[in-house]
Every structure is written in structure tokens, then in C-alpha cells.
């Protein structure tokens, strides 16, 4: 899958470059509605990102879709060119436009797509 790099300031103020695959591409590959399919009831869909320690956060599909918010959220496996390890890895989310880091889930283990239906 095509890989992207995002540079964000770390907690200590230094810039860190993460590299990985855009979350939208992984979701699209998994069959999540994107593009013209992302309308009507499909817009009531969201993604739960789960970490190995049970931590969970939520994103909507529209956040990632190019037709909507087009957030460049990345599922990263490298930090400054080196594979993620320890409490960071082996995968983590990186949300460059989030002001807080709480949705940049470390130790990412599962991505679960949920469709809400009324």
C-alpha cells in the first residue's frame, strides 16, 4: 500500500517524522464506504481504534474521506525512519491536525468499523 510521512511536534517540542499507511486507505481496502458510497446512512459510520492496553478512541469515516474533512491520519509503523517498538508500537495512529495527542493511539491493535442504523 502507498506510504506517507507526517511530521508533528513531539511532546518535548521536537519534530518527529512518522511514516505509515493512510488510515483511509486501510479502511477502503477493508470495504468501508468511501467516495460516492459515503452518503446517507453510510455517513453514520465510525471507526473504533483499539490499543493493546484496551484504550479506545473513535473517528468518523467522513473525517478521513477526501470529499469531507480529508484528515491525513496515518497508521504508522516507523518513527524517524526506525520501526516503532516498546510502548509505541508496533503500530500507532498519528493525527497531525489534532491539537491534543489523545487520539494518536499507541500500541494500535484493532480498527473496528461500526455502522449506525436508525
Amino acid at each position: 500500500m502507498p506510504r506517507e510521512k507526517v511530521s508533528i511536534p513531539d511532546q518535548d517540542g521536537t519534530n518527529v517524522e512518522y511514516e505509515g499507511v493512510p488510515l483511509r486507505d486501510i479502511l477502503r481496502r477493508a470495504g468501508a464506504p468511501m467516495g460516492k458510497e459515503l452518503r446517507g446512512k453510510a455517513l453514520a459510520s465510525y471507526v473504533i481504534a483499539k490499543a493493546r492496553d484496551g484504550y479506545q478512541v473513535v473517528f468518523t469515516l467522513a473525517e478521513m474521506a477526501p470529499e469531507f474533512a480529508n484528515e491525513p491520519i496515518v497508521v504508522a509503523d516507523k518513527r524517524d525512519g526506525k520501526p516503532l517498538f516498546g510502548y509505541q508500537g508496533p503500530f500507532r495512529l498519528v493525527c497531525p491536525n489534532d491539537k491534543a495527542g489523545a487520539r494518536s493511539v499507541r500500541m494500535l491493535q484493532d480498527l473496528e468499523i461500526v455502522r449506525l442504523q436508525k
Binding site: 511536534p9 513531539d10 511532546q11 518535548d12 517540542g13 521536537t14 486501510i26 479502511l27 477493508a30 470495504g31 468501508a32 490499543a51 492496553d53 484496551g54 484504550y55 497508521v75 509503523d77 518513527r79 524517524d80 526506525k82 520501526p83 516503532l84 517498538f85 516498546g86 510502548y87 508500537g89 508496533p90 503500530f91 499507541r106 500500541m107 494500535l108 491493535q109 484493532d110 480498527l111 473496528e112 468499523i113 461500526v114 455502522r115 449506525l116 442504523q117
Partner: protein, 382 residues
């Protein structure tokens, strides 16, 4: 709401990251006395330095002489190093410190390691942000007496009479080599800022990519430390393991203070006076018992713990956090700290096996930087 429709499971990789310590500014200038090279490893930002007191080697060197000089006390019995001993990561190993005249401080001496990154100084003063200003407190403070100096006493004449100091001040302040209190505290602050700890086994592992630098137990402990159930990292996060950390690029960051449920006395002041936390300065009842998050670097050699040195070992500190607060059954401080109304919501308690505890201790021990404790640049020059 109805069910999930898709599930993507990510496979684990087992690769470990090799990394190299990258020198921040590897080459020193030829005339080093009027410049300063931090030599920081990657991951360590440049500390904030006030514009009116730029770092220079000459000032750091003068500050080191002053820091270790017992003439800086009223009776020649104490110096900064009395309560900030290098071999103990610049703490004193006591529950509460003792001043030059024997008077006890109400709180435990804080480590000076990486104090350049500390957004506020001392345990509980939200307004104390300048090392230069803080140095005046142990020098001239009388509540309690630490060094016991008084303005107008013999300190400055003593320093001026010493040719060693005349030379050191001349190099440190070439434009105005006068020996003044302002120059004294600027030099001491510069020396304190130079005490950077970045060479622990954990640093060699985490930043240096040396997979053998720490034990498997320490690696498990690191993951526990950054686990949401324990949430240690939420206050002790970042490269300096403290949420009170600032640097050159975020020097204005607001620092939070935390009540960890150590005490819960009846009445408004739920912590035993005079150690009532940030309330001492803000007078806001919500600040009772709230203290700064200290760095965890070198924590294994800075016992006893907490603002008043009331917990003797790291094991007991972990038990305190696992219980979500300390219960004191009897005596003047009796109370259930878990129920302190100002307690941080993160201090909720957690399950911890014996192995977990051993792993967390191993991780905390991996933060001990023996090099900073024996580095001749920080040692007594006399």
C-alpha cells in the same frame, strides 16, 4: 445502534528500532568561555534560557564554584550541595532537608537534574519560574533558614576578597565583572541548567537503539508505565517524565499541579500544614494538596519520596498509587487519602501483580543515570 460490520486486525511486527544518539551541536567553538554547547541527544529539546542570562561556559564554571562553596552560608557549614548531592542525583537522601543552622525544611530537597526543563520550581509554587529568582530563596530565606545569608552581610566582601572569584567573575561577566548578588544567582542558575541527565540505560535503549541496555523486565515495566490502566505516563510523560516540563520552544506552557491522595485530614486543609500544596500561594481551596510532578529520572536513587519524604521506597510508592491513595490509620495525619476531594481523577488505583511491580521497579531503575552522578563537570571543584 446495531452491530459491527467490518473488522480490521493489524498484525504485530516484532522489529525493534535501531537508533543513534545524534549530537545537537557536536562541535565546540574555539573560544568556549563565552559560548555554551548543550550536546543534547535526539529527543531532548534545548532548554529555555532567559534572554538576560545566556549560557556560557565561564558562567557555568563560576556557578559550580559557588554551588559547592560553604562560604555561601551564614556559618560556613552549608552550600547548595549540602541538600543537592551529585551522587544522589542532586538530592540529599533525607525526608526533609536541614539548613546551615540545623533548622529543618518542611519538604524534601528536589533533584536538580534536568531542572532546566522545569516549568515551575520548588514543589508547589506556581509563580516561581526563574532559577535566578529561586536561588535567592535558599540563600536569603528565613522560613525556613537554609543557607541563612542576609543582604548586607559578609558574603559579597568575602567573595570579592578571593582572587579566585575575581578571576572567575571576570571571565563570567566580562562586560561588568562586579561581584554582585545578581551575578551570583545568574552563575548558579547557569550551572544548574547545565546538569542534564540523558545517559541512563533507558536512554541507550529508547533513543540509542541498544536493545541490550535494559532488561526484559524493564521493557515490560516501560509498557506497563505507558499503559492506560496505570496511566503513570499521563503525569510522568515525555522525555523528562514530568508534565511540568518546558523547553525553548514551549517555555510558556502552563504547568499543572496534582493531589495524589497522600492525606485526607478533616477540614478545609486536607493536607498537614505547612505542606498544603499550591494552595499556599493561590489560596484556592481546590489547590490544597496539589504539588508539581517531579521528574522520574534517577528516581531510584532519590529516596525517600513525595514532597515530604513520607514514603521510604519505590515499592511503597507503587503501592500508594495502586491503592489510589494512602490510608493513615491513626495519629495526627489519620485519614483516607483515596477520598481526598481534590485528588486527581487519574489516581484511581489499579491491579498490580508481583511481577508487574518488579517490572515497574526495573523500568524506574533503568532511568538512573550514573554518568550524571559522577560527571566531573558537575563535581565539587574545590
Amino acid at each position: 445502534m446495531r452491530g459491527l460490520t467490518l473488522l480490521v486486525v493489524l498484525l504485530f511486527l516484532t522489529t525493534l528500532a535501531p537508533a543513534l544518539i545524534v549530537q545537537d551541536s557536536p562541535q565546540a567553538e574555539p573560544d568556549s568561555s563565552q559560548t555554551y554547547v548543550w550536546n543534547l541527544p535526539k529527543g531532548f529539546p534545548k532548554p529555555y534560557v532567559p534572554a538576560d542570562n545566556p549560557m556560557t561556559d565561564a558562567k557555568v564554571e563560576l556557578g559550580r564554584y559557588l554551588f559547592y562553596d560553604a562560604r555561601m552560608s551564614v556559618n560556613g557549614k552549608a552550600s547548595c550541595a549540602t541538600c543537592h548531592k551529585q551522587e544522589l542525583a542532586f538530592t540529599d537522601g533525607r525526608a526533609v532537608s536541614e539548613g546551615a543552622t540545623g533548622q529543618l525544611h518542611s519538604r524534601s530537597a528536589m533533584s536538580l537534574v534536568n531542572v532546566a526543563y522545569s516549568g515551575v520550581l520548588t514543589w508547589n509554587n506556581p509563580t516561581m519560574k526563574s532559577l535566578e529568582e529561586q536561588a535567592l530563596v535558599p540563600m536569603f530565606g528565613d522560613h525556613p533558614v537554609e543557607l541563612g545569608l542576609r543582604k548586607g552581610d559578609g558574603l559579597l566582601p568575602t567573595l570579592r576578597a578571593d582572587p579566585k572569584y575575581r578571576a572567575l567573575f571576570g571571565r563570567a561577566f566580562p562586560d561588568n565583572p562586579e561581584i554582585t548578588v545578581e551575578h551570583v544567582v545568574k552563575a548558579i542558575a547557569s550551572f544548574e541548567r547545565s546538569i542534564i541527565s540523558a545517559r541512563s540505560p533507558y536512554d541507550e535503549y529508547h533513543y540509542g537503539g541498544d536493545d541490550t541496555a535494559v532488561s526484559d523486565s524493564a521493557k515490560r515495566g516501560e509498557i506497563l508505565f505507558f499503559n492506560q490502566h496505570l496511566s503513570c505516563f499521563r503525569c510522568h510523560g515525555g522525555f523528562n517524565f514530568s508534565d511540568a516540563t518546558v523547553s525553548e520552544r514551549n517555555s510558556g506552557r502552563e504547568v499543572e499541579f496534582h493531589n495524589t491522595g497522600l492525606y485526607n485530614l478533616a477540614g478545609t486543609l486536607s493536607y498537614p500544614a505547612p505542606n498544603v500544596g499550591a494552595y499556599e500561594y493561590t489560596k484556592d481551596p481546590a489547590d490544597v494538596g496539589k504539588f508539581k510532578t517531579p521528574t522520574l529520572r534517577n528516581i531510584a536513587i532519590t529516596a525517600p519520596y513525595m514532597h515530604d519524604g513520607s514514603i521510604p521506597t519505590l515499592e511503597a510508592v507503587l503501592e500508594h498509587y495502586a491503592a489510589g491513595g494512602r490510608t493513615i490509620a491513626s495519629g495526627p495525619n489519620a485519614g483516607i487519602g483515596h477520598n481526598n476531594p481534590n485528588k486527581d481523577r487519574l489516581i484511581a488505583g489499579f491491579q498490580m501483580s508481583r511481577q508487574d511491580r518488579a517490572d515497574l521497579i526495573a523500568f524506574l531503575q533503568s532511568l538512573t543515570d550514573e554518568k550524571v552522578c559522577h560527571d566531573p563537570r558537575f563535581a565539587n571543584p574545590w
